[in-house]
């Protein structure tokens, strides 16, 4: 019917013979390109007599608005999403006040207000509500508002959060002496200091000076770090070498048999060495217990709002601050100290607290390793397809396939990586090179190497497509010029084509990195773990351990958000991790654009 329309109109027009007129008021709105011409047209005065017909259908204003609405909705979605992540990520570490809420039934809650929302109370929840509030709720279409308080003290209350419904609150106050204490275990403690024991001297809470407390706490933290260093580094090293010896012994057993002379000498050696090494333990343990004894003299007794007490060593505290009489600078200090902890520390409390250093490390290592694999192979393939292969049906089919593979779901690559790399190649490697560790797999399970190879496979189509496009963009004349000067094909490629195509290749690579860094699904199958016991990089030869499993920021988000005890408690952590991940990826993308622009400029200048 629409197709018929113009014809019909034409016929009728012919019959009426309308005089073409152009009145500016009735001028149909042109596109932006036409805007300038319109300005120009305005000036000749002789044309005001012309009048265009007033046809709203041709203008299609409602449709244009709907399309604009679609675009705006899309943009608003992104802005909203980014704002949500940014806001939550940035605000999370800022110390809030600690409010003490007294409910109408006399119950008292002390906690950091976490978030507020309006909700629809169920009939049961409305039962004990006084009629006045009930009327207010009814007037608000059944909605009431409530605030979630982070009450901490999980070891006492058995819950981290508590809702305070607005109509049940009698009063809210912010007492000055209340402390927010972040502990290494059991999450935060919110309450007052009752006594502080420094070097065996007991000081009542009201006489505790903050400076002395902080100084003592810093010392306690140093002690804790010292103990940790001994435990992880020195004892860890001893354990590592004992394990190495044991594996060497097992290897001899496998090679020569248990009855051989080699085995017996090796066994003797092993026992002697282990004994020596074990002796080292005792020394270290003594040192640890000395520090711990010192540590025992510095204790703090805290009381929560209901009066129950908790006594703990100062070294068990990560950070403490008087939440309600903190100056702006104090707050900023706490804020940055939390960021510092987040970026440089290990996770605690099932990943919901502490830092994400191992995850950052794992993400970066994996991405770099992936680039090492993907760059040569991707570029070589593109070179082959564009420069060496005969352009024909076969190559175009291959090209479609490669393009296609960029769209294959990442989880499929994960399945392949697990089945092929870990379970086929890895198990073979284990049998050949690590028989002494069996049945514990070395390469026969997910790990850093397999994860990077899987992601390399996943991103290689991206690099191939980008490189091919870059190669195709190099003018034919340059190639021909080089060849005509007597350069060989490879010389031409190396000296003329590749430098020209470099910006495009770099962009492709960095985009591949950005994609690789954000991918989680395949990693869940090939080596990412919730908590890696060892970093894939350490001080023991050969330093890089590509067979180890690792942590990843993206998986951290999934794990803390979905697998933890209380997803509410993990949420701040998830938001901050998300922010970090998005920032890393955004930086990579920005870097890609920058490199591209810079190289392009460089080569534009170099052109003749």
């Amino acid at each position: 019917m629409k197709a018929k329309e113009p014809k019909k109109r034409k016929e009728k027009k012919k019959a009426e013979m309308p005089v073409p007129e152009a009145d500016l008021d009735n001028y149909m709105e042109p596109g932006p390109e036409a805007a300038q011409t319109l300005e120009a047209e305005k000036s000749p005065p002789g044309r005001t007599g012309l009048r265009a017909s007033l046809d709203f259908k041709a203008r299609g204003e409602p449709f244009v608005w709907i399309m604009g609405g679609a675009l705006a909705l899309g943009v608003l979605m992104i802005i909203g999403f980014l704002a949500l992540v940014l806001w939550n990520g940035i605000v999370t570490f800022y110390p809030g006040p600690v409010e003490v809420v007294t409910l109408k039934n006399g119950q008292r809650i002390a906690g950091e207000p976490f978030r507020s929302e309006s909700f629809r109370p169920s009939d049961e929840q409305l039962k004990g509500v006084d009629p006045e509030s009930r009327r207010a709720i009814r007037e608000a279409d059944g909605f009431a508002s409530r605030t979630l308080y982070r009450i901490g003290n999980f070891d006492i209350y058995n819950e981290d959060f508590k809702w305070a419904v607005a109509h049940q609150v009698a009063r809210t106050e912010t007492p000055p002496g209340i402390f927010f204490v972040e502990r290494r275990e059991w999450g935060p403690f919110i309450g007052f200091i009752k006594t502080l024991t420094l070097d065996g001297r007991r000081i009542p809470g009201e006489k505790v000076s903050l400076d002395a407390l902080y100084a003592a706490h810093d010392e306690a933290v140093d002690r804790r770090e010292a103990v940790r260093e001994i435990e992880v580094d020195e004892i860890g090293a001893i354990n590592y070498y004992i394990e190495e010896d044991r594996l060497a012994l097992r290897r001899t057993e496998l090679d020569y048999g248990k009855n051989s002379a080699e085995y017996r000498t090796e066994k003797e050696k092993f026992e002697r060495q282990t004994k020596e090494r074990r002796a080292g333990f005792a020394v270290l343990k003594k040192r640890i217990s000395a520090i711990n004894q010192e540590d025992e003299k510095y204790k703090i007794t805290l009381t929560e709002i209901g009066g129950r007490e908790k006594r703990l060593r100062l070294s068990e505290i990560v950070r403490l601050y008087p939440a309600n009489n903190l100056s702006l600078f104090g707050k900023i200090g706490v804020y940055f100290s939390r960021w510092g902890e987040f970026l440089t520390d290990d996770p605690r409390e099932a990943n919901t607290e502490g830092g994400v250093l191992p995850a950052i490390f794992g993400t970066v290592m994996m991405t770099l390793l992936m680039v090492v694999f993907v760059a040569p192979f991707g570029v070589v393939t593109a070179l082959y397809l564009r420069e060496y292969a005969k352009q024909g049906t076969l190559v175009s089919i291959v090209r479609i396939c490669v393009n296609n593979l960029a769209g294959v779901p990442s989880i499929v690559y994960g399945v392949f990586g697990l089945g092929f790399f870990a379970y086929t190649i890895g198990i073979r490697i284990d049998q050949l090179f690590y028989p002494e560790k069996l049945p514990n797999p070395t390469f026969g399970t997910g790990g850093l190497l397999w994860a990077s190879l899987t992601l390399a496979l996943l991103t290689v189509p991206v690099v191939i497509v980008a490189t091919e496009e870059a190669l195709a963009a190099v003018p034919r004349s340059m190639r021909e010029g080089s060849l005509a000067c007597g350069a060989s094909k490879w010389q031409t490629i190396r000296n003329i084509v590749l430098p020209q195509a470099m910006p495009g290749i770099m962009t492709g690579l960095i985009l591949a990195m950005a994609r690789g860094a954000g991918e989680v699904a395949p990693l869940m199958l090939v080596g990412v773990v919730k908590l890696a016991p060892e970093l894939p990089f350490d001080s023991f030869f050969p330093f890089l351990h590509p067979e180890r499993s690792f942590m990843h920021l993206g998986f951290h988000v999934y794990d803390v958000g979905f697998q933890s005890r209380n997803s509410e408690a993990g949420k701040p952590m998830v938001f901050v991790t998300t922010l970090l991940l998005i920032t890393i990826i955004a930086f990579m993308n920005a870097f890609a654009i920058m490199v591209r622009n810079r190289l392009r400029r460089k080569f534009v200048e170099g052109q003749f």
């Binding site: 019917m1 109109r9 009728k12 500016l24 008021d25 709105e29 042109p30 596109g31 932006p32 390109e33 007033l54 709203f56 041709a58 299609g60 449709f63 608005w65 399309m67 679609a70 675009l71 705006a72 899309g74 943009v75 992104i78 802005i79 999403f81 279409d141 059944g142 070589v380 393939t381 082959y384 420069e387 060496y388 479609i400 396939c401 296609n404 593979l405 769209g407 294959v408 779901p409 989880i411 499929v412 690559y413 392949f416 089945g419 060989s488 094909k489 010389q491 954000g518 989680v520 699904a521 199958l525 993206g554 988000v557 999934y558 997803s567 949420k571 998830v574 998005i582 990826i585 993308n589």
Partner: protein
């Protein structure tokens, strides 16, 4: 600069007389060139092959699922004939020893694969040969019934021990390559330079009286449940008089002396006419059900949960009219009963909850599987101890290995050298890898086979299967359970459906926004706006999907749940407000509106959308109260309210289109002719009125339709709108929109942009408006490109994993309800593969799922790619 130096050098050289320039390339250059060619060619081909190899690998892993079972060995031999008839034949875990149990208590162990006899054992039956035999499926617990009405419990167990090779005693007789014996114990060589020692031990306890003195026991079912410390022993007997009894044994341990005393309590099962010819009696491990199979071809089901008040719950015919019942045995888990008939019938029955059941507990026995018939009467049976495999034998000596769930006959054997007649027994080995058949004369047939994945057939993976306890055949995915007795449900259909459901809902949301947004960007805004908007949309593409999933599941889902009515309202308000502002905008004289058509107009669009959302938030609760009884979730669950309002909303867009079409068809031309003569603003006002009128008319039409259909009994709930779950397809569609919109948008915008600008210019120059140009010139040209964009977006949605894992709830349902969850192929792989045992059935099925996913996206992407290439070629030609 480089060049000039080269040319200088050349000049110098050429000037020198007598020196001829060597034009040959240096050897090294040539070698490097050749090497580079080789390396690049090999490397390139390698990567292409590697990438294509993914598919081949997935196929290679998934293929064994469909591979048939293979026979790996067989043997026939004759052992010294036992002096009395056989009760049972038993095999150990490693198919090393087979034991023939005869009625007089003699156990004859033989080496299973060669028939070499081992030293016999004798159970003390006190001189009377046994008349009935019962055994538990696992654990080697046996029970014997005697002609004097007593029952003896016992054990026939295979003991295993692994020794280092050097501790094996000297002087063993060699049986075959692997096995040695000292007459009683068999030693098998196993990898790692070790020996496995296997021997038989048997014992029997004191008799316990069950039936009145002198009534022989003819059938016996024996179960041991509870824990090893406190076993609960139950057994059911049938005596020669046709009386069936259920007996419980209570074992008490005297704490002081450590002595155990056990007492037996027996109850006679009611409603069993005397003289009924009972084929077999079955008992569950918890002793809460007893089944009796009667020769005439029916079963009796007893509810024995209350030991003091046992009731006959159901009587069910099992066989075709003229057939007699010959085999009546339970599979692992004691829920499924295999029934064999005298003319070869084989079927499986289990109880299921069905509406309208006439029984007191609401359950009825149903025929879940009807299996391939034997040619002759079914005479022998043996169930697997670890799966739903079982073997049946007919009187013609055909032994068939079958699988219950897949209803398939896996392997067929034919006995050799055996005499015809009754007394032939078969036994499926504990590890499902061998069958032993014997007859009274001591002929033993032994077959070894491999049955890796008997439960997977095309039917079980992609078809409807009637699972144990289900009221009807269904597509179900339920793969994991720690219990062997659990029937694995591995239909991929719910997963494929989940993938499609998620894709469809995300595309319904994403396509309009992405495509319309792309058209607007390419045709209606200036380059300076586009240079801001386009990268912003593209940035969304690089958001990690795990982040989208997290926000969708933990932030969005609870908000949507609380504000669902307001959100629905907002989705209606926004288009309405946009149209309203478009008509109002028209009213503005072009002198005013024209200069504002760039950024300010776009800003106004933004403002309208925000206003729409705000209005939705403010009047959402009122809207909910008005139309959905104040609680949308309860309304969707079907608890409150009527369907008319929702039907009205659903019909509204269709009614509006109908009204608009009719108005255009019958009034459009005249209307435009009238407007043509008016001043601009007046005309625009009339246009606004016309639109308002159409809205009202469409509303009336839609309301009438809704009321009529409600009166006719149509309910909006029950299809696309049904019970509300927090993590649902709506949330998934919305979150996946974030992932899909940028892809469709970018590619579609590129396609629109690559329409040659001379076409656009020509159209505009001919006097077409931008809208007409976009609709009639640009869109048709770029249509294939936009199609490709949608297909690529679809490919992404199909494969998206993290969003679905986190936000979809992962329930494998098969309905289109937008408010219920889904379980997609990708999510299922991500959740289950890490726990799947390598090379197990689940592992391979998940690889098959990956292959299906791969194939789905490959098809979609290839279509997209081919269309896109064609579009490119055409665009280049224009």
């Amino acid at each position: 600069m480089n060049e000039s130096r080269v040319s200088d050098a050349e000049d110098k050289e050429s000037r020198k007389p007598g020196r001829i320039r060597d034009l040959r390339a240096r050897q090294s250059v040539r070698i490097i060139d050749k090497l580079a060619t080789k390396v690049i060619t090999i490397g390139g081909l390698f990567v292409i092959l590697a990438v294509l190899g993914i598919m081949a690998f997935l196929v290679a892993v998934a293929l064994p699922l469909f591979a048939g079972e293979t026979i790996t060995g067989s043997g026939v031999f004759r052992v010294a004939a036992p002096r009395s008839a056989l009760l049972s034949v038993e095999v150990d875990d490693y198919n090393t020893i087979a034991v023939l149990v005869s009625k007089n208590g003699v156990l004859t162990p033989v080496h299973a694969s060669t028939g070499k006899p081992l030293r016999p054992l004798k159970l003390d039956f006190g001189g009377t040969p046994a008349s009935a035999f019962g055994r538990t499926l696992k654990g080697g617990n046996v029970a014997f019934g005697f002609p004097d009405g007593t029952v003896r419990f016992g054990k026939i167990v295979f003991r295993t021990q692994v020794l280092p090779a050097e501790r094996v005693p000297k002087g063993l007789t060699k049986i075959d390559e692997r096995d040695f014996t000292d007459g009683k114990v068999v030693y098998s060589r196993i990898p790692g330079d070790q020996m496995r020692k296997i021997w038989v031990e048997a014992e029997v306890k004191e008799p316990q009286e069950v039936a009145p003195q002198g009534t022989p026991i003819v059938k016996l079912a024996y179960k041991v449940g509870g824990t090893p410390e406190r076993p609960s022993i139950s057994f059911a007997t049938v005596d020669a008089g046709g009386v069936a009894r259920l007996s419980l044994t209570e074992t008490k341990v005297n704490l002081l002396t450590g002595q155990t005393t056990s007492s037996v309590e027996s109850v006679v099962l009611p409603d069993l006419p005397p003289g009924t010819r009972i084929v077999d009696i079955l008992l569950t491990e918890k002793a809460d059900k007893v089944y009796i199979g009667v020769e005439k071809g029916f079963l009796l089901r007893y509810d024995t949960r209350n030991f003091d008040a046992i009731t006959l719950v159901e009587k069910r015919d099992l066989l075709p009219m003229d057939e007699k019942l010959t085999v009546f045995k339970a599979l692992i888990g004691e829920e499924s009963i295999v029934v064999g008939g005298s003319k070869g019938y084989a079927g499986i029955f289990f109880q299921a909850r069905r509406p309208g059941a006439a029984t007191s507990d609401g359950l009825v026995m149903v025929r879940g599987h009807e299996l391939e018939r034997h040619a002759a009467s079914v005479s022998g049976f043996s169930a697997s101890q670890r799966s739903r495999m079982f073997a049946t034998m007919d009187s013609g000596g055909n032994v068939w290995l079958r699988h219950a769930t897949s209803e398939s006959t896996l392997l067929r054997f034919k006995v050799k050298e055996m005499a015809n007649g009754p007394g032939r027994l078969i036994r499926l080995s504990p590890r499902d890898d061998a069958i032993v058949a014997t007859d009274e004369k001591g002929v033993v047939n032994f077959w070894k086979f491999e049955a890796e994945h008997p439960e997977t057939t095309f039917q079980t993976l992609f078809g409807k299967v009637w699972y144990e306890g289900y009221p009807k055949p269904e597509y179900t995915w339920q793969s994991s359970s720690g219990d062997d007795a659990f029937e694995e449900k591995i239909s991929l259909i719910p997963l494929i459906f989940g993938t499609i459901k998620g894709t469809v809902y995300s595309l319904i949301f994403a396509i309009p926004i992405a495509v319309l947004g792309a058209i607007f960007t390419s045709e209606f805004i200036g380059p300076q706006v586009r240079s801001v908007v386009k990268p912003a949309m593209e940035m969304m593409a690089s958001l990690p999907s795990v982040v989208l999933g997290f926000v969708a599941a933990l932030i969005l889902a609870p908000i949507v749940e609380t504000w669902i009515a307001a959100i629905l309202l907002t989705f209606m308000l926004i288009p309405f407000l946009l149209l309203l502002s478009a008509y109002l905008w028209q009213v503005m004289p072009p002198r005013v509106s024209l200069p504002l058509s760039g950024f300010p107009k776009l800003g106004l669009v933004f403002f309208v959308i925000i206003l729409g959302s705000l209005l939705g938030y403010l009047i959402g609760p009122g809207f909910e109260r008005l139309l959905f009884g104040g609680d949308f979730k309860a309304w969707a669950n079907g608890n409150i309210g009527i369907a008319t309002p929702m039907l009205f909303i659903i019909f509204y867009p269709a009614s509006f289109i109908l009204v608009a079409f009719l108005a255009e068809r019958f009034l459009g031309y005249e209307w435009r002719q009238k407007l043509r003569r008016m001043a601009h603003s007046r005309g625009a006002l009339f246009e606004l009125l016309r639109w308002g009128g159409m809205l009202v008319a469409a509303g009336l039409l839609s309301w009438v339709a809704a009321v009529t259909l409600t009166a006719l009994g149509l309910d909006a709930r029950g299809g696309v709108i049904d019970t509300y779950v927090q993590r649902n397809a709506l949330v998934v569609g919305f979150a996946m929109g974030f992932a899909v919109i940028p892809i469709i948008y970018t590619i579609a915008e590129d396609a629109l942009n690559s329409v040659p600008s001379h076409l656009r210019a020509a159209s505009l120059a001919c006097g077409a408006t931008p809208w007409q140009t976009a609709l009639w010139v640009i869109l048709p040209t770029a249509a294939s490109g936009i199609f490709a964009a949608v297909m690529i977006g679809m490919g992404r949605a199909v494969g998206e994993t993290m969003i679905v894992v986190m936000a979809a709830g992962n329930t494998p349902v098969l309905d289109w309800n937008i408010f219920s969850g889904l379980r997609a192929l990708s999510a299922n792989i991500a959740v289950e593969l890490p726990e799947a045992v390598k090379d197990g059935t689940l592992y391979r099925v998940l690889f098959l799922a990956a292959l299906v996913l791969f194939a789905m996206t490959f098809v979609v992407n290839t279509i997209a790619e081919v269309v896109r290439l064609r579009f490119r070629k055409r665009a280049a030609q224009l």
